[in-house]
Structures are given as C-alpha cells and as structure tokens.
C-alpha cells in the first residue's frame, strides 16, 4: 500500500517560500496569480495491507515526525 501525505502550513503562519514564488511569478508576468502556498508532499510505501491500520500508522508518523503540528497541518491519502 502507498500513502500520500500532504503537509501544509497552518492558516495564519506566514509562508516565505510561497510568498517568494508569488513574487517571482508576478515578476515573470503572471499577473493573475493571487496567493501562493508551498507545502510538502511525501509518498511512502507501506508493507501493511489493512487500510485502517495503515491509516493509523501514517497518522502516528505524521504527528511524530512528518509534520510539526505547531505550525503545520497534514492530510493522508491511501492508494
């Protein structure tokens, strides 16, 4: 089983990378771009075949390591 995890900055936390991308895009003439936010996208191969168990494990990985819940949210997808 594969898990796809999206880690994004919480609303209200300033995103220097996203801001810089937006700025650069404007500079390049993409005037129609509004806010830009950058996050992480992590794909994991899992030996686990039970979806519920896999989900629980990845949830734990997110809380413990993959996301810093002080400033980040995460979302898990299993495929």
């Amino acid at each position: 089983m594969k898990a796809r995890v999206h880690v994004t900055l919480k609303n209200g936390v300033l995103d220097p990378q996203g801001k810089a991308i937006g700025h650069a895009l404007h500079g390049m003439g993409f005037a129609q771009v509004g806010e830009v936010r950058q996050g992480k996208f992590i794909e994991l191969d899992l030996a686990e075949t039970d979806k519920a168990k896999a989900k629980a494990q990845v949830e734990e990985m997110c809380k413990k390591l993959l996301a810093n819940t002080v400033i980040e949210n995460y979302a898990i997808e299993l495929v």
Partner: protein, 731 residues
C-alpha cells in the same frame, strides 16, 4: 577491406576503437567498450593536455606529493601537511546549476579527505556570462545556492573565491571548486592498491543510475540540444558526505587502510583502474555485491554510474570488521565487493559469470596521448590613444560598481565562512586566512585568474594568474608555498585554442619557477564551447601559503588616521601606467584592446619578498595588492574595508587616468604609521625595491587631489549595491 565499427562508439574515435580492439585482442563487449570510453575520455585521460602539463614545475623541498594523486600535499611544519586541489564542474552546473555546483563541492572535498586530511576550507572560482544574458541571473543564483547548500551542510567554511562576468561564458559557465585540508605527515593515504588477496571495499552511498557518461559529457562541446542530456545530472547528498568525512577520518585513526580512493568521474571504473594500475595489481570485482539504489541495474550501469558520496578502499586482511563497525556506526553502506589479484587484469563478475575482462595497465597507461596541433596566439595590436575621463569621480564609481569589481558580499554571506572557528580573515580581503587548529600558524588561500589578459596574450596571462595568487598571499604576510590549477579552455582540436593552452602553461611554468612556487595538483576542463564559440582561456589558479605567526598578519582595511600610503613596485616607463586590457578601458570606454600588462618576474619576486618580510617583521599590518582597476580601486577597497578615508596625490608629470587606473603588475599598497615610514623606505632602497609615498589616511572621503573627492558612503553604495540589485531584479 573496409572495417566494421559498432554504431555507437560511445565517444571513441575510430583510431581509439582500433587501439581498444588491439589491446583486447578481440572485439570488446558493451561493458568493456563503455569502460574504454570513459577511461579514455578527455576528462579521465588528459589526452590533449598531458604533454603540456608535464612541463609545469612540481617540485620543491616542501612538496610531499605532487600531481598524480587525488590532491597535492605540502609540508607546513610541526608534522603537519596541507592537502589541496581545485576541480571543475562546468558542464553539469550549466545544465543544473544547484546540483552541478553542489556536487562539484562534494567531489573536491572527497579528493582531499581521501588522503587523510580534514577539510578546513573551501574556495570557489566562478565565471558567468554577461549580466544581460537571460540565463545569467538564474545561473548565479543556482550556483551560489548549490555551493552554499553543500559546503554549509558538511560544515567546512567557504572562505573565498573569485567571480567574473563576460559574454564568452554565456553558453559555458565555469564552476571551479577548491578544498584545502590539514593532515599529519605520518598519516597520509594514497591510492596504490597492494597485497594480493586483500579486500576491495565499497563505502558510502548506494549506486544509482546517476550521471552515466558524465565524464564523456565533460569532454564534449555543447550544442543546442545539450539541454536534452539531462538525466546525467547527479544529485548531491551533503548529509551523507558529512558522515563519510567523519567515518573515513575515524577509520584513518586506526591502522587498517592499505589504499583509498574516492569515486569521482567515471565512478567505480576509474577508481578501481587507478588503484590497481598504481599498485601494479589485478582486481576481481563481484558487481552484484555493489550496494544498489535501484532494481534491475546492469554491470554497465554499475561501472559507469557517477553516484556521489562513495569511496573505494583496500583493507588489510582480517581487519575488515574494524572498518565495517565504523561505517555502520555512521549509518553508511559498507560492502566487500572484490579482491586484489596478481593478474594485472580487471575481471568483472556478475552473479558468478564473467561480464568483462580487461587488462589494466594497457588501458590505464596506454591511454591515447595527443600532440595536438597548435598555433601561437598572435600578439595583440598596440593600444591606441586612451582618453582621460571627463569626470574622474564617475569613472571611479563605474569601476567600483562594475560586475567584475563590485562587492561579492551577496555571495559570501550565503556561505558559512565561520564554522570551525578558525577563520582569521573572512572573505573580502586579498587571501582568506584559516588558522591551523590549536596552532599559532595559519594557511592563506586565494584563487585568481584574469581571463581577459590570457585571451590577449596567453603567456603573460598565465604568468599573471600565478603571480596574482602569489601577491595575494604575500599581502596577508604568508609565505606562498604551492598552487593547484584548473585549466578551463575551449575545444583543443582547434589549433588556436590549443595555442592558448600552450601559451598559458608556458607563462604559468615561468612564474612558478621564478617564484619557487610549484604546481602540486590540478584539473583540466576542455571543450568549453558552444556552437564553435570558446570561452576566454581561464587557467584558474589556487594558491596556498603559510603564515607562521598570526600576530604578524596584514589585512586590506585602513586602520589609523595619519598612516602614510606607500606604493611598492614600478610603473611602466616610470610614469603613467598600463591601460591595455584594463578595466578602465573596458568599463569606462567600452573597449577590450591592447596588450595586457607584462609580468616582470624578477621584479615580482624582489618586490613581493620585500613586502612579505615587512609584514613578517611586524612593521606593516595594512597591505593590498593592486589588481583589477589599478591603484584607485585598491585605495577605495582599503578605505571601505576600514571605513576610513584617504587622500592621494597624483604625480605632476603623469597622465592621471593612467596612473590611477593603470593595471601595472607586481604592485602593493601599504598603509604604515608615520614613524615607520622612513625605515621602510630606506629598506626598500637598499633592496632596490621601488617605493614611493602617495598619500595619507584619514577623514570620511576618498580624494585624489585635483581629480576627485567621494564620500565613503557614496563609494560604498556604488560598490555594495550592484550585485544585490542585479540579483533582486525579476528574471
């Protein structure tokens, strides 16, 4: 009878293919042909340059190991050695600036720690295209980030370098990285394999399909479709490199290594062949034991991969477990992948079957060597009339803010230049000074080359590049000891390019001899051409010197109001100054003309020795050599460095613009307390060293009486603002 050649000769010429068949006594298979191809690539075999490189002086009493090993080794006293080398990563950096530059740093670090040295300093010599070229900004940003990203992470300070911009580099930037390390003279490790039956051990990262045929790419010209050759780009992993440094140095404290070699260009192939050839041994490799990152890898891919952060070692029999424990502790791969034999052959096995079997010496030593046709570069036309500027202050500001002189702060602030706590002189001076840990002494390090001089007159340019590094080391008070070089040129199959190469080497050799300043390591990068247009000839020189006593060190910053400015060294014809190929000519008048300033080696030696001895005697603590832009720029840099003004007097019988902006060689500017002035001038006269007082230190302005007065803040803006503003502009 017409001969049949395979469709894909992998970059070998027909003649080279015939040689390969002769050596094998049969048709080489795909794997074997791939090995011939990389081993005989320009990058690995130096086939066009070898003949000329041999003419460089490489010996001195303090040279422990000259060219031929992974890096050069010199004695710095107290049972310690400095180990250093410079290497190019030009082509990869053009294709992918971040990773290209990063892996360039990683590669040169490995060359140095593989010999037993802890890396203590990194340098970088960079050449970019015209600032107006659409790619330049992106390339500068990526290269600088890449160098910082790698060097900062491994924790080796990046303490200096040089940067030029010129349209000739539009399609071929140059990224030359240098590492200096310190080792104990009784703990230097070499690469010659020894001991039949000894284990061949692989450590570091796993092998993937990175950069296959990178070495041959570095040996080919760019054409417009080069950007398609993308998969050959390697990705660096500085974290693993840091672990590899610590693990290797820890292992080197034990007594189990027979030989060690990093896997650089052409990966496992060149490292195994070199180790075997140097030791006169054979090797049997079981390629299926190589740690692999991907599934389905073939022997061909394993032998040619340029995956980074890998080393090959020969260990003492029965001691493998010692090494294994250390590499496991550092969480790195460790695998015994073969053993040494007495057959003189490289036998490559794959799951028990022989996949390739090649003779080692014929392949490694009989690599083709070419005496390529060359024509000397015609002497430049004499320089016509050079008008004075209408506005001297404006001319000075133009020079201080031009791309080749403007402050590089934007670059070096992205490099951790302080880690290790031994950086005695940060970037911005003449040479970086890095203390030898726990000692009163320090290494001085610089890189220099003036490509526009080399283009106009390769012999003078070659001399100048070496001499400028020598001066920069003297200027801080260090004894210059040896150099490493990075020869960046166009296509050697063109006789005029080969002529540039030959000329530069000749000039370098002359300077090295005159200054007792041998070459101990180096690197050649040819085919820096796009669609038939070559770069300016660029023999980048990295110089290393020793400061015996840190209490006697000079810096460029003015220190005391009231100091007297003394100019050391002669000006052409005792008046005026040399404006051919000067920055004044190019930046203010838009002309690139004339002969470059000549380097008079006897005077160079005499005057440089004098300056250094004055510093070492504790009489002088403020010194700057004169280079790009001449005297006016040197004074300005010293004033900005100390945030203290100065006033200079232009001699009456002289064209002021030539005196201020002429680039006559072999000169230094000292700032000394008034009471020291007389003694220095007397000593100079005794030593036949030209020395004149040209002004005094003080105030908040920079003045050349009768020509300009500029406030320091205005000057600082001119100098500091260009690069950040350029980099901040939208791409």
């Amino acid at each position: 009878m017409t001969k049949q050649y395979p469709n894909d000769l992998m970059g070998l010429s027909h003649e080279e293919y015939d040689m390969a068949v002769g050596i094998m006594g049969r048709t080489p298979n795909h794997l074997e042909l791939g090995i011939f191809s990389v081993m005989w690539s320009e990058h690995c075999s130096y086939k066009s340059s070898k003949k000329w490189l041999k003419t460089l002086p490489t010996k001195a009493p303090w040279v422990i190991c000259g060219p031929g090993e992974n890096a050069g080794v010199i004695d710095i006293g107290d049972g310690q050695a400095a180990i250093f080398k410079m290497e190019s990563h030009n082509h990869p950096s053009f294709i992918e600036p971040y990773q290209g530059a990063a892996t360039g740093v990683g590669g040169i670090l490995r060359d140095v720690f593989t010999m037993g040295a802890r890396p203590v300093a990194n340098m970088n010599a960079l050449r970019f295209g015209s600032p107006d070229h659409p790619k330049t900004r992106h390339l500068v940003a990526g290269v600088v980030r890449g160098i910082g990203g790698y060097g900062n992470c491994v924790g080796v300070p990046t303490v200096g370098g040089e940067v030029n911009f010129h349209p000739s580099y539009n399609g071929n930037i140059l990224v030359n990285a240098m590492t200096v390390g310190v080792a104990r003279t009784d703990k230097i490790f070499y690469s010659a394999a020894a001991g039949i039956g000894n284990s061949v051990v692989y450590v570091g990262s796993k092998t993937g399909r990175d950069g296959i045929h990178g070495a041959t790419m570095a040996s080919a010209e760019f054409t417009d479709d080069s950007e398609e050759k993308r998969p050959t780009v390697q990705v660096g992993d500085p974290f693993t490199e840091k672990l590899l440094i610590e693990a290797c140095l820890e292992l080197m404290e034990t007594d189990v290594i027979v030989a060690i070699q990093d896997m650089g260009a052409a990966g496992l192939t060149s490292s195994s062949f070199e180790m075997a050839s140097k030791g006169g041994m054979g090797i049997e490799l079981e390629l299926d034991r190589v740690p692999m990152r991907e599934t389905g890898m073939t022997p061909y891919e394993l032998m040619l991969s340029e995956s980074q952060e890998r080393m090959l070692m020969i260990l003492k029999p029965g001691e493998e477990h010692v090494a294994e424990a250390i590499f496991r502790k550092w969480e790195l791969d460790f695998a015994i992948i073969g053993r040494l034999t007495d057959t003189g052959r490289m036998v490559l096995k794959w799951n028990g079957e022989v996949a390739g079997d090649l003779p080692i010496d014929p392949l490694a030593l009989a690599a083709p060597e070419y005496d390529r046709p060359w024509v000397p570069t015609p002497p430049p036309a004499p320089l016509g009339d050079v008008p004075a500027p209408k506005d001297y202050a404006a001319a000075l500001k133009t020079l201080m803010s031009c791309p080749d002189v403007a402050s590089r702060r934007w670059i070096w602030e992205q490099y951790d230049h302080l880690v290790m706590n031994d950086t005695m002189q940060r970037p911005g001076g003449d040479a970086a000074v890095v203390r030898v840990a726990d000692m009163k002494k320090a290494l001085a390090i610089t890189t220099d080359c003036t490509p526009r001089y080399c283009y106009a007159d390769p012999v003078q340019g070659g001399r100048q590049a070496v001499a400028e590094t020598w001066r920069n080391l003297n200027s801080v008070g260090a004894r210059p000891l040896a150099i490493t070089d990075n020869m960046n040129f166009g296509n050697p199959q063109r006789p005029e390019i080969m002529g540039q190469f030959v000329g530069c080497i000749q000039g370098m050799a002359e300077a090295c001899r005159a200054l007792d300043y041998p070459v101990v390591s180096g690197n050649v990068s040819l085919y820096n051409e796009t669609n038939g247009k070559g770069i300016l000839p660029t023999p980048a020189i990295g110089g290393v010197g020793l400061l015996d006593d840190l209490d006697h060190m000079a810096t460029v910053a003015l220190k005391r109001a009231g100091d007297v400015l003394i100019l050391i060294g002669a000006v052409e014809n005792h008046h005026g100054g040399h404006l051919g190929q000067s920055l004044y000519l190019r930046e203010v008048l838009g002309r690139e003309e004339g002969p470059p300033p000549p380097v008079v080696l006897a005077a160079e030696r005499r005057d440089g020795d004098f300056v250094r001895e004055q510093i070492r005697a504790g009489r002088v603590d403020t010194c700057h050599d004169l280079s790009d832009g001449g005297l006016a720029i040197a004074v300005a840099e010293m004033a900005l460095g100390g945030n203290l003004g100065a006033t200079i007097q232009v001699p009456a019988d002289t064209p002021a613009h030539a005196w201020l902006f002429g680039e006559d060689q072999g000169r230094y500017l000292l700032a000394v307390p008034e009471q020291a002035e007389a003694a220095i001038l007397i000593d100079a006269r005794k030593a036949d060293v030209p020395a004149i007082v040209i002004g005094t230190v003080g105030g908040n302005d920079l003045t050349a009486t009768g020509y300009y007065t500029i406030s320091l803040p205005e000057l600082r803006h001119a100098h500091e603002d260009w690069l950040p503003a350029y980099m901040a502009a939208p791409r």
